[in-house]
């Protein structure tokens, strides 16, 4: 509101003024400020896996942690330490539905980086998938750029890519890496922004809840601390039970479900443990869970709360 009042007082409104009004949508990168870490905050990476939300390693060996060493206005950065022969590669895949408007356009990627030790070069590559949102079989590089020295203090860098091809409508991957020289390299990154246009505008800080919700379209960890309810189950025959567990956010695709740890069900003055928990139907908004209660304490037709002891459910619809 303050900015709106400020603009209203001016005689002339510039294009830059309008561009800089926070819309919540100009940045195509999700979790560019490294604020969301549902999978943990420290990783020993040996293969392709997700670390900070939406940021995926690319088959290299490195360690990654959440760092509080940041440029002004940021809370966290991604700290990467890569061994002598590792490229320390990481990337974000942008789904096709958010790329349709990029065909033929110019885009600018910007981010803050800092070399703590070792190699200081940095390569940025844009890639498109073999088919829509399918990165498992093949991908094609659209363009790449590099800088020789990201600097030993926090510096904002930008890379402009022109005339994106028609295939960008199938999705886009933004990949960051350095060329190894045999020595360990440690660097930190935050403030990633990909926007339409040939200029890096100020980083768009979205509210934490908005950023979390955007991440949860792709991955959601249901883990509400010990003994909180995941949903209502119906008691069945032979100690069986079943019911729906809702996600907070509708998923990009029907997700993969992984149930880990111990749960119990509570109802009818009993709280038996559970065994053989699994899925009996997976949707984009909820998963139908079934299992068996221990002992003889599940009554057919009674309602039970599904509670975790130390368990959690991973809902994964990542690219």
């Amino acid at each position: 509101m303050t900015r709106a009042v400020d603009l209203a007082k001016r005689a002339v409104i510039t294009t830059e003024d309008l561009t800089n009004i926070p819309s919540g949508a100009k940045n195509l990168i999700i979790n560019g400020d490294m604020s969301i870490w549902q999978r943990g905050t420290s990783f020993n990476v040996t293969s392709t896996q997700y670390t900070a939300d939406r940021w995926q390693t690319q088959g290299q060996t490195w360690t990654g942690t959440r760092s509080t060493d940041v440029p002004d206005d940021f809370q966290y950065s991604l700290d990467i330490t890569a061994g002598g022969s590792s490229y320390g590669t990481f990337a974000q895949k942008i789904e096709a539905v958010n790329c349709k408007h990029l065909v033929g356009k110019t885009v600018t990627l910007s981010f803050y980086a800092k070399a703590v030790s070792g190699q200081t070069n940095c390569f940025v590559v844009l890639k498109v998938p073999g088919t829509v949102d399918n990165w498992s079989s093949s991908s094609n590089a659209v363009n790449s750029q590099n800088i020789s020295d990201i600097g030993s203090t926090w510096t904002r860098h930008s890379f402009t890519f022109t005339n994106l091809p028609n295939t960008v409508a199938d999705g886009l991957l933004v990949q960051i890496f350095h060329a190894p020289d045999g020595n360990t390299a440690q660097r930190r990154y935050t403030g990633f922004q990909l926007e339409v246009g040939d200029t890096a505008t100020p980083f768009e800080h979205r509210p934490y809840d908005v950023e979390l919700a955007r991440c949860q379209r792709y991955y959601e960890l249901i883990n509400d601390n010990n003994y909180s309810s995941y949903g209502v189950m119906a008691g069945g025959t032979s100690q069986g039970f079943a019911g729906y567990v809702d996600y907070k956010i509708t998923k990009r695709a029907t997700p993969t479900i992984t149930i880990t740890g111990s749960f119990l069900i509570q109802g009818n003055s009993n709280q038996p443990g559970t065994t053989s928990m699994g899925t009996n139907g997976i949707g984009k908004r909820a998963v139908y869970i079934s299992g068996t209660g221990t002992g003889s304490n599940v009554t057919n037709g009674f309602a039970y709360n599904l509670l975790d002891v130390n368990g959690y459910i991973k809902v994964d619809a990542e690219l």
Partner: protein, 51 residues
Amino acid sequence: MYKLIRNSISNEIDIVKRLSDNAHIPFDEANTDYQEYLEWLAEGNTPEEAD
């Protein structure tokens, strides 16, 4: 390695379990894990039958 899972309500096989981490993968071609499963099948592999 994978094992097919039969839906006890519909009696159809529409989920495959990845045995390395017990992840339940739905038959959705937009699901990345299912895409990998299809590639695994294309290499000539065969999942365990459903119970």
